[in-house]
Symmetry: C2
Subunit: 175 residues, 2 copies
Amino acid sequence: MREIITHEERVYDGRVIHLALLDVTLPNGSAAKRELVRHPGAVAVVALIGEDVLMVRQFRIAAGQVMLEIPAGTLNPGEDPLLCAERELQEETGYRPGALESLGGIFVAPGYTTEFIHLFLATGLIESRLAMDADEFIEPARMPLRELVAMIERGEIQDGKTITAALKVARRLGI
Amino acid sequence: MREIITHEERVYDGRVIHLALLDVTLPNGSAAKRELVRHPGAVAVVALIGEDVLMVRQFRIAAGQVMLEIPAGTLNPGEDPLLCAERELQEETGYRPGALESLGGIFVAPGYTTEFIHLFLATGLIESRLAMDADEFIEPARMPLRELVAMIERGEIQDGKTITAALKVARRLGI
């Protein structure tokens, strides 16, 4: 079922994403084009304090709205996802994790982007402020996991990684 | 918290995705750049026959592997997501839905792509074959929802929309 890349044209090299046009050979031997966004990958963290989840609100220009999400961030090239999760959690919430446990991960849109998000559960949080990135405007929020799950069930949360990670944790905790 | 777009440069116009470079004004009045992928949106369907979910296996070049996913597809411009869900389900599984119910939707990566996936639950399936797209090589699969959820819990499913939609349905059905 595999497709073989026969030629790659780099269309754009940006700060976060890179766009390539691929010529591929299909399983039946015929040729096709593929549009591919290369992305360094990311992390996202369900951080629990007791029964509460630490969340962030931020304007997302691609969605055209302020969204409620779990803390997350893009990997630096070659960065260990665990270290990235620790850093992003500190930057966005002012807490660092006592323990980080993998919740697996997701390809966000395997039809056209390489982005893979490593999902983590953070517990034993310790207050520890870090400076934010200069162009991030993030408002912290905090709510019971049970309430977050109810919002997901009502369709009020629309961020893919947040739903995936929160529902995975809810299953583990029997919520 | 909003960002205002002051200038847009179209970098690439493709078959499915369009890449734009935006100049934006941040909430504090300073300027920043944003890389934005415009995407027409998509649908994905949890299709139940009794306790089984209809799935598809396909090679995903962005993930570099064959992935197990729920049936899904890209919206044609202006297309009603319900009609798209019906069509894609038929094309990929050979069944059309007796009933389609919304499961909400997800922004797959609101940091850089406009793609929103409308999620549906399909029941009352009726056999009805449609021709596939010429460059799609899709292998149908079928498994109990309970088994799909177990695979998700073990980290064996890595497609974001599949995990989101399957866990939403599992909660509804008390699985």
